[in-house]
Point group: C2
Chain length 381, copies 2
């Protein structure tokens, strides 16, 4: 038992071969339409280029070094991750500039982070004084150093210290520790990303930027450089970009998009990223004219942000999901799909959907162009 290794766990073989027709790819499978993904990567790069901000896309969405390399080739400075295990997977794949946009708590994880920091350019967040001390001790123990950003709660009410004095105090604590380099503020307003109306998103990010700026000024008044203000997601990145305050942007979902982002109303001139990510399914039962059952359910797509949509099929709605089944409702007057027919689903939420798959089947012109491992799939710790 104690000798068990990863080989006992279930890494899956690729679900297709390069050159296969899409119609031959067995289901359910996670597919990415490469043309759309490339256009999304290029559109984001163009939107940021020459605007005085760095692009550091969030890799928690794709968990895939093949995609990170394309983002970096298009101008990104590196990636963000949420977990030490994700950072390990990206560094192992050659992506060596990683900001862990999360607090890392507990000696085992801190030791892993410190070990990784010896051979890569790492950053991490803090929002607690005792955690700063533990982080610094781990770095010194490993003979490593790391960029540290203070996470400020600018409205998401998740992690983070309050803006102003509490952030200044923590910045001082970081700056005082050997092994830690105080780098700036993490000011991500996650709650703003899915506000449906552009004006709501603008107001939320304006407030976040104001809080971040006031805090930065206080820190610099205390004699500590506060070079980086990082944050932003796919729903708001243009607002942070144009704020004059944020220096780094972390959008993740834009490479894929999902049904939930699709429900955001866009501002005038806002980029329309394309849906590139789909769950490829087969109709496995046609019990009546009003419904068809697909072979994908709760283990093939996340439902936290609602059911997937059925792409290119206006009369079909994914009404219900159980563990391994999706119940597609056929609108009155619509022709239902046939047994064995393939349907493409647009996931409700891309990030937790991608995490259900070992491979991304990359498709161009209805052929499998590549198979990309989801290298950080299941990297929970």
């Amino acid at each position: 038992m104690s000798g068990r290794d990863a080989g006992d766990a279930a890494a899956r073989m690729p679900p297709a071969r390069v050159g296969d027709r899409l119609s031959e790819v067995d289901t359910p499978a996670l597919i990415v339409e490469l043309d759309a993904l490339e256009r999304n990567v290029a559109a984001m790069a163009a939107a940021v280029e020459g605007r005085g901000v760095r692009l550091r896309p969030h890799a928690k969405s794709h968990k895939c070094p093949d995609i990170a390399r394309r983002q970096i080739a298009a101008g990104a400075v590196g990636v963000c991750c949420q977990k030490v295990g994700e950072a390990e997977a990206f560094v192992a794949a050659g992506v060596s500039d990683v900001l862990v946009t999360n607090e890392i708590v507990g000696a085992p994880k801190l030791a892993r982070l410190a070990s990784l920091a010896r051979n890569s350019s790492l950053g991490v967040l803090v929002d607690d004084r005792a955690n700063v001390v533990a982080l610094a001790a781990a770095m010194r123990e490993a003979g490593a150093s790391i960029d540290v950003l203070v996470e400020v709660d600018v409205g998401a009410h998740r992690c983070g210290v309050l803006p102003g004095a509490p952030a200044v105090e923590l910045a001082r604590a970081v700056a005082a520790e050997r092994g830690l380099r105080f780098a700036g503020l993490h000011a991500y307003q996650g709650a703003a990303q899915h506000l449906r109306r552009p004006a709501e998103r603008l107001a939320a990010i304006a407030r976040a930027a104001e809080l971040a700026f006031e805090t930065k000024v206080l820190i610099e008044q205390a004699g500590i450089d506060c070079g980086t203000i990082t944050g932003a997601g796919t729903g708001t990145f243009a607002i942070e970009r144009d704020s004059g305050i944020y220096t780094e942007l972390q959008p993740g979902s834009y490479v894929f998009m999902d049904a939930d982002y699709g429900r955001n109303e866009r501002a005038d001139g806002e980029i329309r990223f394309e849906q590139s990510l789909f769950v490829w399914t087969t109709v496995m039962s046609t019990p009546g004219p009003d419904r068809a059952i697909v072979d994908a359910g709760l283990k093939a797509f996340a439902v936290d942000s609602g059911m997937p949509l059925v792409a290119h099929a206006p009369g079909l709605e994914l009404a219900k999901a159980s563990d391994e089944h999706g119940v597609v409702r056929v609108a009155a007057g619509s022709a239902g799909p046939k047994l064995g027919e393939r349907l493409k689903l647009v996931p409700g939420h891309c990030d937790p959907t991608v995490n259900l798959y070992d491979w991304i089947v990359v498709v161009r012109n209805d052929r499998v162009d590549a198979l990309w491992p989801v290298a950080a799939r299941g990297a929970l710790t």
Copy 2:
């Protein structure tokens, strides 16, 4: 690219070592309390023994051969699976009597099923005439044979033909095919499992049993043996057991239980299966007295059936989850947990939660007793 194998995908190392203290297990991790699991396995075995029905637990819940072996050692005849890939994982691990309680559609999957049927005792469902023909052809091609059950829609309105004449017609089609052995009816009433009141569950299963029995009589009048009536889940198995009609029971969740099953009211004398499955988490941020943030979110537990509960912590409620964070609300007057403190979560829905992990950390007396691979994790096809 075409040479890529499973090694490129991410099978994870075990998150602990046998003998570790539970407090040393890094988080998030999926833990099973072995005493509780063993009592659940024994209680189900005792509930079925001598009652004239077979127990064939559903392995879609646990995806874990170590658990299947314990169920079989306690008297189960084999297991159920939903996917060919799951059946492959169980057969490879030595569990060779598997009923795939699902329709299998498409030539690649049928070929895999037929290949597997050559060296194991397999069953599968059908609800479509053309699928019967394709299944039979695949079996003959492989020189294999398989038990086939007609799935009857007894109220769940998912897959399945209607009871009565349509089922008889399909049974005839199966019986006429070389390579297929008509074995009986699959009459699972999934929609009944989480009806909250015992009387509602009783009424739903009484109706399902009636429909199954009428159909069985018609099939036998047509001169075809209809030996097996299989179905039932953790919420209703005692009703099917006592029906005099069902010959085989397929409960799965009882080994673990979850918050959703915990909301079912129990009938007098109904077994109280124990919660054995937990998500082990760490408090990673304590931003204020009213909330604490744990290091587990949508990638560490399923939320389709509601948020997880915080075990043994009456003042704490998991109010919200994002991809990698859970926001725990601290009730007024309750002491919030401290940074680094561990919390045990009861998953809302066990099956899709287990599918997020490569390993089950098996705990007895606060020590890691074993590490069980979730061998069929991600077995989607």
